[in-house]
Amino acid sequence: MALIEAKSISKVYTMGDIEVNALKGVSLSIAKGEFVSVMGASGSGKSTFMNILGCLDKPTGGKYLLEDVDVSGMGRDELADIRNRKIGFVFQGFNLLPRTTALENVELPMFYKGVPAKERMGRAMEALKKVGLEKREMHYPNQLSGGQQQRVAIARALVNEAPIILADEPTGNLDTKTSVEIMELFVELNNTAGITIILVTHEPDIAEFSKRTIKFLDGRVISDEMTASRRARANG
């Protein structure tokens, strides 16, 4: 049973008179516990695909099954609920709420889920501990380094125990050393907690941390294979 099942998904944007085919029938499935990186040049359709996987956007054609539930026909609030419970987002620009403490940022998904205040606090502290930020819960985003901010974002993605983390170029704003630390955190979460991670990147070095690499070009998947380093390791 696949966690994510995309069946010939297409997406057409209409801009005035011009129709843009951003996705031209993409079919793939991702099983629970996978660590997938999605690569491709800008305009290849990878962002559109990620938006659809993240239930931020709806496909114009095809079907998207998330844990065997067809989400392609769902309304705004239903999708918001799916995002809240099943998907944790990690963005390139961190996207933490400004003037809001790390703790409160991590509490936010639970707030929208309706978790009682006391429980929220405990679980948020726990999630911050998992990403190694237990001493920084009262810091504001502007008092944290880029790497620390991204850890807060990861804690926020973890806190509702979502089975999937969607990370859109999570190391794009970070230096190499911090990038490696963040990627190691993802690897650990993938290995120990069995969280399915889907990572968008255009850096081959970063993609190396994943187990499977999917490449997009012109709205189609052009390759879907085991990540190069692992392939090499498996062969050698």
């Binding site: 931020l56 956007d57 918001a80 995002r83 419970r85 936010l108």
Partner: protein, 409 residues
């Protein structure tokens, strides 16, 4: 489902971050609510004053004025030709069923002297019915009786203003004063009534038996002549009946043929006063309505700022949506901010309005009464303004596309 403490805390924090802006936005509501409170207070004060004056005048009052003279074809207006008598008064009291009491009045200005003090006041000759007609109590002493009227005794009831001017701290009861050189014994002091609707000091008066006034003070052109007759009807509903009965009775008593004009005029004082009260109430409403306009403008200010705020925080809205905020989560967040601003503005506005109206009453000398109702009304109204004008920005925010919102710089 909605988490009120959290939502409120969130809204408070957002407002605190933009202190100056929040304050300026609130200023519209503050001024609006303050203006509504102050205007209603001034209006309510005026209405209450008039109501007090009306009740001080006595309830269900009619006044009968004598007719007009006609001299060389010129008609001179009501009251110029004395035609009324104490006998008319007695007849009305006895024969008009809708009339509870009738009191004749023969009044005039007179100099009153006590010891080395003197004072000019209005001296009215009347009957014991007067105190009942005017709902007037005695502060001390006793009223004069029918026997006093019958015997034309030289006794008087004195208003507080006259007492103050003639006696200072001395007890006036039993003392003798000179009115137009005639000695009168003070047997009672009238309770304080304050200003009349027309602004006259009602306590600047002296009552004496009508017969004494006729014989010793003012004289009469014909037997029993009085200037006016004051009537108390049995009830408000009886006022019109009383008027009709008096008309019929006086026309008969004055031998007026059908088709001839009356030689007297009956006026409904209570109705006149109620009209005055009504117009004050309308003025209050009008002032309140004008002040509400500024509250409305304050509301538009809130909407304006909230729209700016939504645009500024597009990215934040995107983040919230991405991690699971539903349509109403977003709406309630923005409505809560607008509501909190308007309610805080409302509270400050009420304080300002209360301070403002007491300042107005001190400086301008107008009575201003802040009723709890008007405070509650203004507070509720400011809340409604907050929700109403907060809704559109909130609605706009909730319709943002999460992808576009996340990408917004």
């Amino acid at each position: 489902m909605v988490n009120l403490p959290f939502t409120a805390a969130l809204a408070f924090r957002t407002l605190r971050v933009n202190k100056m802006r929040s304050l300026l936005t609130m200023l519209g509501i503050i001024i609006g609510v303050g203006a509504v409170i102050a205007m209603l207070a001034v209006g309510t004060g005026a209405t209450q004053q008039i109501t007090a004056q009306i009740s001080s005048m006595g309830s269900n009052l009619l006044i009968i004025l004598p007719g007009s003279t006609t001299s060389g074809g010129l008609r001179m207006g009501a009251g110029t030709q004395p035609t009324l008598t104490t006998f008319d008064s007695d007849a009305i009291e006895e024969d008009a069923p809708a009339v509870a009491a009738a009191a004749p009045v023969l009044s005039g200005s007179a100099q009153v002297i006590y010891g080395n003090q003197n004072w000019s006041t209005v001296v009215s000759g009347t009957t014991p019915s007067m105190l009942y007609v005017r709902d007037w109590q005695l502060a001390e002493g006793r009223p004069f009786s029918d026997a006093d009227v019958k015997n034309a005794t030289k006794v008087c009831l004195m208003g507080q203003t006259v007492v103050d001017n003639l006696f200072g701290g001395e007890d006036p009861l039993g003392k003798t004063v000179q009115i137009k050189g005639v000695p009168f014994q003070v047997i009672g002091v009238l309770a304080v009534k304050g200003q009349s609707v027309m602004g006259q000091d009602q306590d600047d008066t002296i009552y004496v038996p009508v017969t004494t006034a006729q014989r010793k003070l003012f004289g009469t052109a014909f037997p029993g002549m009085v200037r006016v007759i004051m009537i108390k009807a049995r009830s408000t509903a009886d006022l019109n009946a009383a008027q009709d009965q008096i008309n019929a009775l006086l026309r008969q008593r004055h031998h007026i043929m059908p088709g001839q004009d009356d030689d007297f005029t009956v006026r409904n004082l209570t109705q006149m006063m109620q009209a005055a009260e009504q117009s004050t109430k309308i003025m209050t409403l009008l002032l309140g309505a004008i002040a509400s306009v500024s509250l409305l403008v304050g509301g538009i200010g809130i909407m304006n700022i909230m729209l700016v705020s939504v645009t500024e925080r597009t990215r934040e809205i995107g983040i919230r949506m991405a991690i699971g905020a539903k349509t109403w989560d977003i709406r309630i967040q923005f409505i809560a901010e607008a509501l909190i601003m308007s309610l805080i503005g409302g509270i400050i506005g009420i304080a300002l309005g209360v301070a403002g109206s007491s300042a107005i009453s001190k400086i301008a000398g107008w009575p201003a009464v802040v009723s709890p109702f008007s405070a509650l009304l203004a507070f509720g109204f400011s809340g409604a303004v907050g929700i109403f004008f907060g809704f559109y920005p909130a609605y706009k925010a909730s319709l943002l596309d999460p992808i576009d919102a996340l990408r917004y710089e």
